[in-house]
Amino acid sequence: MHWVSTKKAKAVMLIPTLLVYIVFIIIPVLVAVYYSFTDYSGMGKAEFKGFDNYIRMFGDELFLIALRNTCIVLVCSLVFLLVGSFLTAMLMNRAFRGNAFFKMVVFAPYIIAPIIIGIIWGYIMNPQYGLINNILRNIGLDALAIEWIGGTKWSPLALAIVFTWQVMGFHATIFLSGIKTIPGDIYEACAMDGANVLQRLFYVTIPMLKETFIINIVLIITGVFKIYELVYQMTGGGPAHQSELLTSYMYFTVFSSRKYGYGMAIAVAILVLSITGSFAYIRITTKKKRRES
């Protein structure tokens, strides 16, 4: 391929994407970083304030609550999604009648607009007239009919459940494509050695899927840091901002409190956390490349 790799060819192939990416992603991020050092209110003059906004963040109780909630959603989602989507992928990988339909159902929530998902699940999770609690009460499990949303305790869990429902099909499909690349003869060898199902799972399948796991983890991390519409529709961040996530708190700061500078500082914090999470992925792909060459 060296012959066609002329400077001109490379330029033609790369420049459109680079241009769009730099102008509409990279520069905006830099602009946001710039404003995070100011007291800009969305209009008028912006005064440079140094690290004031960042210092303020650590004394801002609501920010810390949003951070805590985001961490809870992150941990719960990682557990639910890794276990759930992995097991679902194992099911999808088996041959059975209705397999195609099952695959379709599993992936379907992923294509529904998040804002609509928020509306629908609001009516399911509502402690008073929602579906879950009414079913629980009807079968006598009143103790389990907790305040899923609207309280100060359980909202992050509720958000993690809905997020899991939304993206499980996507992650299961990634797992499935990983599983499909495991050569069949490895399992045959296992069967000859007399390994049982669990042994096969823990000694062959999971280790072979290490990279798939890492990619899923990275996509879950970045995904959690993007949840906004679910909070907006299900709890509105309430009561009194107790169920806010970082993104929704940032949105509130920018658009309701009209503190654009501070909001951008929160945005930068989100970005840093999210990119730190993604580093794992970047390192792994780099390693893989090196190993190949």
Binding site: M43, P127, Q128, F255, S256
Partner: protein, 436 residues
């Protein structure tokens, strides 16, 4: 505080039998030009997305206005209120504001201070708009005693109650004092009826509680709050927050309060599932369209004996305002067209459309009478508007957005059990002190 500013309405609108006496459609445009050669287009941005459904009177007024002024075209567009607010801020900074648009009062003042709005002080007199406005709604939005906004609605807020449910619980009259209110709540609870529904998920639905804060001296303390000599954590405000806490402990609110939006709360009230509802004049239309229309009454919310401030007060003021952008005012012809439109909107014809097509309170004087059989809630509201309780503004409009929403969150934080009164007061104080 303004006293007796509503006299004009009192004189004109008396609840009685329907005899609308309209003086003939008067004012034809003063410089009406024929032909469409130089049509002037006014860009108008509203705060609802579906203007035909949500603000039918506006469409009709525009239609009537355009018929009279064939050389003026009004290009109206709208977005849902939070999207609209966001949009206006963004457009302001780009210097691309529409010619006329709606704003909440706090941002309107901020816009005016940044020079984005047209100072309409002189024009309001010149076009006779001040004369047509209800006297309580003149000077709705001022910065340094200059006028920057026109009232978009009569902001009148308090508690609506379901007379049938009150009767069922053995309550004879709408409560006035806090003690009477508590007694009513106890009776309702004993009868198994939810006393008061509030949509805590939408923190803006605080209205009647703002009146209560005003009864603990909000306006008297405002200057001190702004210069820092008075903290939100003062004895009176703590009493206010304690009252909210007592209400919560006394099971005044819906059990599901934190998950109720304002709209759901309204549905609960209209479905006869709750006895009282915190709302205001804008809901008259919805109330009258409901099954319980004939049973709905209104009162201003409880008065308190542990406050030394005036208690017989109610929010009777302007809500959001219509403003003109400074950019549009640079074009004299366009500005003239705009002011003619407002003249028409607040003049006889516009007012007639508002009063007759929507069962709403117009912001300008209306020479008609209201049939209390047909419009029971409107009649009740007009009665309250004209009672001798002093008119106050909405505290919300005297605060910055941050502090105002902070105060909302603090109150709802107590209702939902997140804050104690002290914490709530400190929370608002922190936000306010950051701005001083």
């Amino acid at each position: 505080m303004k006293k007796k500013v509503w006299e004009k309405v009192t004189a004109v609108v008396a609840a009685g039998v329907l005899t609308v006496s309209m003086t003939g459609c008067g004012t034809s445009g003063k410089d009406e030009r024929s032909g469409n050669e130089d049509t002037i287009t006014i860009e108008f941005a509203e705060h609802v997305a579906n203007i035909e459904e949500q603000e039918p009177h506006m469409m009709k007024i525009i239609e009537a206005f355009e018929q009279q002024h064939p050389n003026i075209k009004i290009d109206i567009s709208g977005k849902e209120v939070s999207e609209h607010n966001k949009q206006m801020t963004l457009l302001a900074d780009e210097n691309k504001l529409p010619d006329i648009f709606w704003l909440e009062q706090a941002p309107a003042k901020e816009f005016a201070q940044n020079g984005y709005l047209y100072d309409m002080t002189e024009a309001l007199d010149e076009y006779g708009i001040n004369e047509s406005l209800l006297s309580g709604l003149v000077n709705s939005c001022t910065v340094d005693e200059r006028d920057f906004g026109l009232p978009s609605e009569v902001m009148m807020a308090g508690f609506f109650y379901n007379k049938a449910l009150f009767e069922k619980a053995g309550i004879e009259e709408a409560p006035e004092t806090y003690e009477e209110f508590t007694e009513a709540v106890n009776k309702l609870n004993a009868a198994g009826i939810v006393p008061l529904t509030v949509g805590a998920q939408d923190n803006y639905s605080i209205w009647a509680f703002e009146t209560m804060l005003a009864r603990y001296g909000f306006f008297e303390k405002l200057e001190g709050l702004n210069d820092g000599s008075i903290s939100w954590n003062n004895e009176d405000f703590i009493h206010y927050f304690e009252k909210v806490e007592e209400m919560r402990d006394n099971k005044t609110f819906t059990e599901n309060i934190a998950n109720m939006g304002y709209f759901e709360a309204k549905e609960q009230f209209l479905g006869g599932q709750a006895a009282m509802f915190n709302s205001g004049a804008w809901d008259i239309g919805d109330f009258e369209a409901s099954d319980i229309a004939q049973d709905i009454g209104f009162f201003w919310g409880p008065t308190f004996t542990d406050s030394e401030y005036p208690q017989q007060i109610g929010i009777k003021a302007s809500g959001g305002v219509y403003v003109v952008s400074a950019k549009a005012a640079e074009d004299k012809e366009l500005l003239d067209a705009i002011m003619q439109f407002w003249q028409f909107y607040y003049g006889e014809e516009g007012t007639k459309i508002i009063a007759e097509d929507t069962a709403a309170l117009p912001c300008s004087q209306y020479e008609g009478e209201v049939n209390s059989e047909e419009h029971p809630v409107l009649a009740a509201m007009i009665q309250a508007l004209n009672d001798d309780w002093e008119a106050v503004r909405e505290p919300f409009n005297s605060l910055s957005s941050t502090v105002a929403y902070g105060y909302f969150d603090a109150t709802f934080g107590i209702m939902t059990g997140v804050y104690t009164p002290e914490e709530a007061a400190d929370y608002v104080e922190d936000l306010h002190s950051a701005e001083r």
